[in-house]
Subunit: 338 residues, 2 copies
């Protein structure tokens, strides 16, 4: 293992000078710099990031907390994060939250200093207690698709998205519109689904359409669960003519239920999803597109800027636009139906 001392000896200079060259200090004569750089190349020297980190007090690690297994959308956001970090001095350290039973476990581990210099949280809530600890420790935090008091957040306007989807269905003549989403009290603490539901309720109310309690179903974010919930909806005495699901995965479950119940889509049932993941395009699913990649990218950039400047990220709420993508799972309400 070659160290800075070896380079110094080889170049015939002091350690300090080598360090200055490594860190681009202007306080080095050009001739000296060249000599040192030649030695670095000759010895194939690589600085030890651990030692560097210890000395500097930061390890150039960006922690990303992500519910990897539960939401397909998280992957696309992660891609954005990866893209933002390319070329930066920071390494991406991945912390998965697999189980909803210990959602705060990663924070406990991370609030210890130097586990990561900054934290990006995708879709998960952060207990206020941990927000404080992270703030005390001086670790900047950015939330994507989530919200917490006193933290910089990047979100898309979920309520507007919920409105968009519902307006679309109402515009097609539907009045019996069901909703499938996650339980507001879900174990992970995901909240986006509730805001989408709010948009749904608002639009119905504005059009004077009563929100039937039996038309609003909640369950874990899972294809088969959604399928079951949709099957229940379709078996109702007065079944819905349209379903708005708060995610594409759930919408695809609804599609499967429709097939199972012998309903053709969109002739006998319209379905709208949310997220616009890869699958949506293949399935021809009408859905609300949100900029998943961009949200991850922006979140990471905000964090990097904060880290570079030494200032905590601006306490803004960055809102990304959503947009309805009309495909082939929605259609005008057939006359005489419902």
């Amino acid at each position: 293992m070659v160290t800075i001392a070896d380079v110094a000896k080889h170049a015939g200079v002091g350690l300090g000078t080598v360090s200055r060259v490594l860190n681009g200090s202007p306080q080095v004569r050009d001739a000296t710099r060249a000599k040192v750089q030649a030695s670095i190349a000759a010895l194939d020297y690589h600085p030890n990031p651990l030692a560097r980190g210890l000395s500097l007090g930061r390890g150039h690690r960006l922690g990303v907390i992500v519910p990897f297994f539960t939401h397909a959308s998280a992957v696309e956001r992660l891609r954005g994060v990866v893209a933002a970090l390319a070329g930066s001095a920071y390494d991406l350290v991945l912390f998965n939250v697999a189980s909803p039973f210990h959602p705060d476990e990663p924070y406990h581990a991370l609030t210890g200093p130097h586990r990561a210099d900054g934290l990006l949280v995708l879709s998960l809530p952060v207990p206020s207690h941990d927000v404080e600890r992270l703030a005390e420790a001086g670790i900047p935090v950015v939330l994507v698709d989530s919200w917490a008091e006193g933290v910089t957040v990047v979100m898309s306007d979920d309520r507007a998205g919920g409105r968009l989807a519902t307006e679309h269905l109402v515009g097609l003549g539907h009045r019996e519109i069901a909703f499938i989403g996650e339980d507001p009290g879900n174990a992970f603490g995901f909240t986006a689904t509730s805001r989408r539901e709010e948009g749904y309720r608002e639009v119905l109310r504005e059009h004077g359409i009563p929100v039937r309690p039996s038309f609003v179903r909640h369950g874990p974010h899972d294809h088969d669960v959604a399928r079951r919930l949709a099957a229940e909806l379709l078996a109702l005495p007065v079944p819905p003519t349209a379903i708005f699901a708060s995610s594409d995965v759930q919408a695809l479950g609804a599609l499967a239920a429709a097939t199972g119940a012998g309903r053709t889509v969109p002739a006998q049932l319209s379905v709208v999803g949310y997220d616009d993941i890869d699958l949506a395009a293949y399935a021809g699913l009408t859905t609300v597109h949100q900029p998943l990649f961009d949200s991850g990218y922006l979140g990471a950039r905000l964090l990097l800027d904060a880290l570079d400047s030494g200032r905590p990220p601006a306490l803004d709420r960055h809102e990304l636009p959503v947009e309805l993508v009309t495909r082939t799972t929605t259609a005008m309400l057939a006359r005489g139906a419902a």
Copy 2:
């Protein structure tokens, strides 16, 4: 920031003792241990992993190199890696290889000591030059879905998978079977595709079916490229009655081309994919299933074992089984066709 010295003072013991407690050394009297643990809790002390890493000579970081943007299958493998690392002392550091133009760039960065303690490489080739450097640096390496001289590898039997797919089509009566895969000289250096192609060629040969050069098409691993290649195949004077694509993404491209050319699947064209990603099930794609999750899991476990034992991973070639999943994109060759 509270350090080990603070804990020592608070507990009225020496630094060494605190360190021994932290590291579970038996050389501490129970009473002393309890006292120290109480102080740790009272002060909310968290060891600094950077300092620990510097002292120990390893940072408890497991580097994963993954072509994140190009292959959907990589994500599923990554999930396996994440699962294997849960509960271990190692953090997952993600290195993306976005561009094929500098495929060895991450290795340059990583062969420097302590960037990561071990390296897991997904689907990418490792230049032999870097294999040597990593070996010299004592960094264990495991490859998943790739191969290199002198490195532990986890792979599935791609040739057998290629055979499986082709046998299936031949068994359905097809003789005009085309292949769509990646160029053997592709910039990233992916090799799995070539082994699948070998299996395809072998089976055709065994059945006395000539391999028409015009039936074998190569292009980057991309849906739209595959779609174009498939469109070319279908426009041939004697078009194929079946297409075996070396990945699901490419098979889905072929499906799109079939729709574009007015061919119904599977009546007028059979299509087989490879990987069995999420999309395959939704699309009803017949495909070769390979244990993506398990491959990542196993690779990570091998690496962790090597790290824990201090021995390099056994130089085995771990081969995972593949299996044909028959869905709705393949059917008996219609009489009189071709």
